[in-house]
C-alpha cells in the first residue's frame, strides 16, 4: 500500500495542532490550576456544534442566500448550498469561520464557567469531575437523539475548512495545517505567559491549598471560574478546527474516549508544564496515526481483530504506567515558573 508521505505529514501536523490546543487547555485547568476536567469532550463538542449551526444557518445568510433546513427532506439541497458557497466564495467562508471561532470560544467558555458553579457547594472536589463527565455524555446522547442541532444521529457533512476553495487540495491542506499550527502556537504563548505571571503563581497556590489561599485574601471561587472559562473557550476553538478538518459533525466523535486521549497527553507529557502538553500531544498524535495505519495494514493482511480498539487500550495502559512509574510526566513541572525569579537576578541558588 502506498502511503503518501507528504499528505500524511500534513494530516499529522494538523491533528497535532488541534490536540495541542486541547492539551494546553486541560493542562491549564488541571496541571496548573488543579481543576479536574473530566468533561473535555463536551467543550470540544460545543465547538463542533457551533460550527454545525453557523455553517447551516449563518453561512447562507452571509452569502446572501436563504437558509435551508439542513435536516429532513431539504438535506441534499442544504448540503449542496454550503458546498457551493465554500467552493466559490472564499471571503464569505473565511468570515463565517472566524465568526464560528469567536462564538464557539464564547459559548464554550460560558458553559465551562457555569459548570464550575456547582463545584462551589460540593462536599468533595471530585464531584465536579463526575458532573463534567456525566454532562459530556448526556449532551452527546441528547444531541444524537434530538434532531435540530446537528441532525441527530445523521450528523452534518460538508463543514469545510476555510481554504477549501483552492483547487489544489494539497495546498489547501497545507494552508489549513499552517493556520492550525499558528493558532496552537499562539495558544502556547498565551498559556506560557499566563503561567509565568503573578496569575500563574495564584493558580498554583489555589491548586495546592485553596484554604490557605483564601486566608491570604484570594478569591478562589472566582479564579476557578475564570480558568474554566478560558480552558473551555480554548477547547471550543479546538472543536471548531476538529470538525472543519474532518468536514463532518457527528456527536459520536465526542465520546468519553476523547477526554481520555487528552488526559493521556498531559500526563505523558508532564502535568503543569506547557511544553510537556505539546510533547504529549505530539507523541499521542503520532501513536494514534501509527495505530490507524497499522489497523488498515493488518485488515488488509486478513487480520481479523479490529485494531482501532487497540488504540484505546494502548492509551489506557500508557496512562496507568505513567501514573505508577512517572507521575510527573516526561517533562516535569519546572520549579521556578514566574518571571519574578529572573527579575531578582542571580541571587538565589537553587538546591
Amino acid at each position: 500500500m502506498n502511503i503518501d508521505l507528504f499528505a500524511t505529514t500534513i494530516a499529522l501536523l494538523t491533528f497535532f495542532g488541534i490536540s495541542a490546543i486541547m492539551a494546553l487547555s486541560l493542562n491549564l485547568e488541571y496541571g496548573v490550576a488543579g481543576i479536574p476536567n473530566f468533561g473535555q469532550a463536551l467543550f470540544v463538542s460545543i465547538g463542533a456544534y457551533t460550527a454545525g449551526w453557523t455553517y447551516t444557518r449563518l453561512l447562507p445568510l452571509l452569502a446572501g442566500e436563504a437558509v435551508i433546513d439542513p435536516c429532513g427532506s431539504t438535506l441534499g439541497q442544504a448540503l449542496q448550498l454550503r458546498s457551493t458557497i465554500m467552493k466559490t466564495m472564499p471571503t464569505v467562508g473565511l468570515t463565517n469561520f472566524v465568526i464560528t471561532l469567536l462564538i464557539a470560544a464564547l459559548i464554550g467558555g460560558l458553559v465551562g464557567y457555569l459548570a464550575s458553579y456547582p463545584a462551589l457547594r460540593l462536599k468533595q472536589e471530585w464531584y465536579l469531575g463526575l458532573v463534567l463527565l456525566v454532562g459530556s455524555e448526556i449532551v452527546r446522547i441528547v444531541v444524537r437523539g434530538y434532531e435540530p442541532i446537528i441532525c441527530g444521529n445523521n450528523g452534518l457533512s460538508a463543514i469545510a475548512q476555510p481554504f477549501h476553495w483552492l483547487r489544489d487540495s494539497t495546498l489547501s491542506s497545507l494552508l489549513f495545517a499552517g493556520l492550525v499550527l499558528t493558532v496552537a502556537g499562539l495558544v502556547y504563548l498565551y498559556c506560557e505567559r499566563l503561567v509565568r505571571s503573578p496569575y500563574g503563581r495564584l493558580l498554583k497556590a489555589v491548586r495546592e491549598n485553596d484554604a490557605v489561599a483564601t486566608s491570604l485574601g484570594k478569591d478562589v471561587a472566582r479564579i476557578r471560574g475564570q480558568i474554566m472559562f478560558i480552558g473551555s473557550a480554548l477547547a471550543g476553538v479546538a472543536g471548531v478546527f476538529f470538525v472543519v478538518n474532518s468536514g463532518y459533525a457527528s456527536a459520536n466523535d465526542y465520546v468519553v474516549a476523547l477526554t481520555l486521549d487528552v488526559w493521556v497527553m498531559i500526563v505523558l507529557g508532564g502535568l503543569g508544564n506547557n511544553r510537556g502538553a505539546l510533547l504529549g500531544a505530539l507523541l499521542i498524535t503520532i501513536l494514534d496515526r501509527l495505530t490507524a495505519i497499522t489497523a488498515i495494514r493488518m485488515n488488509m493482511l486478513g487480520f481479523q481483530w479490529e485494531f482501532n480498539y487497540v488504540r484505546y487500550i494502548l492509551f489506557g495502559v500508557i496512562l496507568l504506567l505513567m501514573l505508577r512509574y512517572r507521575p510527573q510526566g516526561l517533562l516535569p513541572e519546572p520549579t521556578q515558573t514566574t518571571r519574578a525569579h529572573e527579575m531578582l537576578g542571580a541571587e538565589g541558588v537553587a538546591k
Binding site: 458532573v131 479490529e306 487497540v310
Partner: protein, 297 residues
C-alpha cells in the same frame, strides 16, 4: 393516559429500580470502604452481562448457573483491577484525582477489550439465551419470568449484602474501615484482606446486576456505561454514603425514568430521547440543592 400504560411503566420502574439498587450499592460500598470513586464500576456490570451471554450461549441457559458465573467472573475481574492497578498505585499515596484517573483508564481498557472481542466474534446486540415465558397475565398486566428473576434476585442480593454488613465479622470490619481507616489499622484489622474481599463482593454484585440487566434489555460493550449514569444518580441521592438512601434513590431514578418520562411524553409530547437527561438533572439538582441527598443529617 391508559391504566395499562401506567401499570406497565410502574412495572418497568420496579425492574429498573431494583437493578439500579443492586448496581448502586456496590458503588457506595467502594466509596465508603475503599474510599475510591470507581469510574470503572460500569465495566464490571458489562463484564457480568457478557459472561452471562457467553454462558447462556455456550454452557447452560439455567438462570442460576448464568447468574452464578456472572458473579464469579466479575468478582475476579474486580479483584484483578485492585491487585494490578489500584493497590500498587495506592502505596504511592496519590491524590484522589490520580486514583480516579486510574479507574477511568482501567474502565476504558476493559471496555475496549470487550469491544475487541465483540467485534471479532460478532457479539453485538444479542440477547442472553434465558428462555422467556409469560407467568402472569390478566386484563391489566403481563408479567414474564424475567420480571420474577430480576426483581426478587436484586432485592434478595441487596438484603444479603445488608446482612453481611451488619451481622458478619467481615461486615463489621468493612464498616470499621469505612468509619476510620487509621484506627482500623491500629486495632489490627487485616485491611488488605478486607479490601480484597470487598472488591470480590462489589464485582460479584455488579456482575449479577449486569447479567440481570442483560436479560432485561440486551448486551453490548456499552451496556454498563449507559446504565452508570442512572446508578450515579442513585448514589448521589444516597448522599454517596448511605445504603438506604441509595436504594431509595435507585427506585426514585427508576420511577423518574419510566413513569415520569411516560407521563411527560404523553401530556407534553417530550421525546423519549430526552430520557438519559433525567439522571443527569437529578444529579445536578441534588448536588446543588441538597448535597447530602435523601440522608437525614
Amino acid at each position: 393516559m391508559s391504566t395499562t400504560l401506567l401499570i406497565d411503566s410502574l412495572i418497568r420502574s420496579l425492574q429498573a429500580g431494583s437493578l439500579y439498587a443492586l448496581m448502586a450499592v456496590g458503588l457506595t460500598l467502594t466509596l465508603t470502604v475503599i474510599k475510591l470513586p470507581n469510574f470503572a464500576h460500569a465495566e464490571l456490570i458489562t463484564v457480568g452481562a457478557y459472561t452471562a451471554l457467553l454462558v447462556s450461549l455456550g454452557i447452560s441457559a439455567k438462570p442460576l448457573i448464568v447468574l452464578g458465573l456472572a458473579f464469579g467472573v466479575a468478582a475476579i475481574v474486580a479483584l484483578l483491577c485492585h491487585r494490578v492497578v489500584y493497590r500498587p498505585l495506592a502505596q504511592q499515596k496519590p491524590s484522589t484525582y490520580t486514583m480516579i484517573l486510574a479507574s477511568f483508564a482501567t474502565g476504558l481498557i476493559i471496555r475496549y477489550i470487550l469491544f475487541l472481542l465483540a467485534e471479532r466474534f460478532a457479539l453485538f446486540d444479542l440477547r442472553i439465551g434465558v428462555p422467556q415465558a409469560i407467568w402472569l397475565q390478566n386484563d391489566w398486566v403481563t408479567l414474564t419470568n424475567i420480571f420474577f428473576w430480576v426483581v426478587p434476585t436484586s432485592i434478595a442480593l441487596v438484603i444479603v449484602l445488608s446482612l453481611i454488613l451488619n451481622y458478619t465479622a467481615l461486615g463489621r470490619d468493612m464498616r470499621a474501615l469505612a468509619d476510620n481507616l487509621t484506627l482500623a489499622r491500629i486495632i489490627g484489622i487485616p485491611v488488605d484482606r478486607v479490601h480484597d474481599l470487598t472488591w470480590l463482593l462489589v464485582g460479584g454484585l455488579a456482575g449479577v446486576a449486569g447479567a440481570l440487566w442483560g436479560i432485561y434489555t440486551f448486551v453490548e460493550p456499552l451496556v454498563g456505561w449507559l446504565a452508570i449514569l442512572s446508578v450515579f444518580a442513585a448514589t448521589v441521592l444516597g448522599g454517596m454514603t448511605s445504603f438506604s438512601g441509595t436504594i431509595l434513590g435507585a427506585y426514585l431514578v427508576g420511577f423518574s425514568e419510566n413513569v415520569i418520562m411516560q407521563v411527560l411524553n404523553h401530556y407534553t409530547g417530550l421525546d423519549f430521547s430526552f430520557k438519559p437527561a433525567i439522571p443527569f438533572i437529578i444529579i445536578i439538582f441534588v448536588l446543588l440543592i441538597r448535597p447530602q441527598g435523601l440522608k437525614n443529617n
